[in-house]
Symmetry: C2
Subunit: 207 residues, 2 copies
DNA sequence: GGCGTAAAGTTAACAGCGTCAAGCGACCCC
DNA sequence: GGGGTCGCTTGACGCTGTTAACTTTACGCC
């Protein structure tokens, strides 16, 4: 909610907040330290942002746009749908690993922190996902007839997210090579193009 | 660090903490409310746990054991390695979706909260992953010769984690059917059994 | 030029957080 | 029965996000 108020201070707050986030991480993102560095008081921030969450949401929006730019660049560099899909996956993973602080507030924050995130921003953010859907559809062509590509594209995203988030969180066994895992994740995305997904019914039928 | 102190209060604290976590979620997990419900003061908790983190770690350990039990049950019910792998995936997803609060503190907590998590517990917790490795190896047999199954098993885990965590966080488009996504995630695990992973080199070579 | 008004920012406070040092009361042991 | 220790409480510190009330600044207008 951009009030009709001094926009210069708003910018300054956002700039400092971004720097604090990137340099010191999310837990260091507190109102008083930000205010101190901006050169105003903590309560002044509330003249420009409804709450701390609103400030974080502004940072999330920045991150979403940055991600969108990188995905679009990957898309533009690809020759075939299949190539583009591979580049999308790689770009998504790179974005997360190179901007872990952004990635964290964008996708790893506790739900309660996101409850107030405006629905419209949410919808816009999710549009980044459409790239996956779109290229998946293009790559599969008519072979996609009886497949739910929206769900499959979502699965591609959630799988990539799992890899990124656990790597960022430092929860992957140190013996596992990071690059190798990334390559496997990319390969897994391409694997989704192969024939119809294997049906587990023969196993499931066993009950 | 289980001090040689009144173990009854320790139990009571842990029981209340678990209930608060499950009923009110992680953000409600605060020292004073827990103490109030236990019938002691907040500082008393420090006689039994080094810190709030240590208390959370104890809950994480409980969750890890619960997960381990369910994975073992899935393993026992499976007829073939392939069937077991499918059941493992399904059990993992179910555990997360049915115990979102446990899952959150186990795998979705901010890294800084986990820094103090004892290395030994960490190692023990990761053993749950070995089930995936083990069944992947069994299912692939000699075909796995030139594949890094440790990394591949890790990828299966991270992919499942991505799906679980984003579902828990409520970040999946409402138009996507939850069960369908889960089925796709299970199918994706089984897909990792198909021939050698598709090589993206033909695309990558394009640079 | 001085006044009135509205905006912009400050001070002080509230309730809650995790945590720590000191103190109190009951029990055991010599 | 006096000393010591265990189990717990009291009170406090510094931090958090946030609000209400106050002060300062800026600007239009007569």
């Amino acid at each position: 909610m951009p009030r009709p108020t001094n926009p210069k201070l708003r910018r300054a707050i956002l700039d400092v907040a971004r720097r604090v986030l990137i340099e010191q991480g999310y837990p260091a993102l507190a109102m008083r330290p930000i205010a101190r560095e901006v050169g105003c008081t903590a309560t002044s921030i509330y003249l420009h942002f409804d709450s701390k969450d609103a400030l974080i949401h502004a940072l999330i929006d920045e991150g979403m746009e940055l991600l969108g730019r990188e995905l679009r660049a990957a898309l533009a560099a690809g020759a075939t749908p299949r190539d583009r899909l591979q580049r999308l996956a790689r770009a998504y993973l790179s974005f997360g690993l190179e901007n872990p602080e952004y990635y964290e507030i964008m996708f790893m924050l506790h739900p309660s922190r996101m409850e107030r995130y405006p629905a419209e921003n949410y919808r816009r953010a999710r549009r980044n996902l459409d790239f996956f859907h779109q290229e998946l559809a293009a790559a599969l062509g008519p072979a996609a007839a009886d497949r739910d590509l929206r769900a499959e594209a979502t699965l591609l995203w959630t799988s990539l997210h799992g890899t990124v988030s656990l790597l960022i969180a430092g929860r992957i066994d140190a013996a596992i090579d990071r690059d190798k895992l990334v390559e496997l994740a990319v390969a897994q995305v391409l694997r989704s193009l192969s024939p119809p997904p294997l049906l587990p019914e023969s196993d499931a039928a066993r009950n």
